[in-house]
Symmetry: C2
Subunit: 114 residues, 2 copies
């Protein structure tokens, strides 16, 4: 049991989510891409299954920043680290903030050449 | 006329306002303080009349970043550079984003020791 729980990374509680950390996380376009992919997916996504323009080690850093800011929740399924968007927590703390990022990403995608 | 208009700083149009630049502007707490003071004020505020914890030259830099991101509008009245929050423009482009910053600043102020 102890070994299992030691593998669960730390997350801030809803009350601990701070706007400064959230903005620092969302100012990076790769991290906003992670947020948008999680929003658009029908289920949790493992760290290895995102479409990202960075090396795996860099991606791991981005996931850590998002988790520590309170934007995503991570848990293990077997050896896969799965990611969930903390949508309700963020919307409760800062209504409209995630929506702005996701809507902007969708507009950018729609406007990009095919 | 030409001399007068040359003193008006450049501003992005509503369509040119980009989320990346807006987030880069709002990630700085001093710039969020400028936004909050403009929101709370009954009228435009000149650059010299904000309550900011930075030197005047640094404040000028922050005003420029906010103007270039499309968050504030600046115009001259005599020799004073006046600042206006582009509230409607921002709310139209990214609904909820400014509100999140302003609400957070008010909570922080309410929670601070008197």
């Amino acid at each position: 049991m102890t070994r299992q729980s030691s593998r669960v990374p730390e997350h801030p509680s809803v009350q601990e989510i701070a706007l400064q950390a959230v903005l620092e996380a969302l100012v990076d376009p790769v991290r906003r891409s992670i947020v948008t992919q999680l929003h658009d997916a029908p289920a949790d996504i493992s760290c290895g299954n995102f479409d990202l323009p960075v090396a795996r080690s860099t991606a791991t850093h981005h996931f850590n920043v998002l988790r520590e800011a309170g934007i995503i929740r991570q848990h293990y399924v077997g050896t896969s680290r799965m990611n969930t968007l903390r949508r309700d927590d963020l919307d409760g703390r800062f209504p409209g903030l995630l929506d702005a990022c996701i809507a902007d990403a969708h507009v950018a995608t729609a406007g990009a050449p095919a």
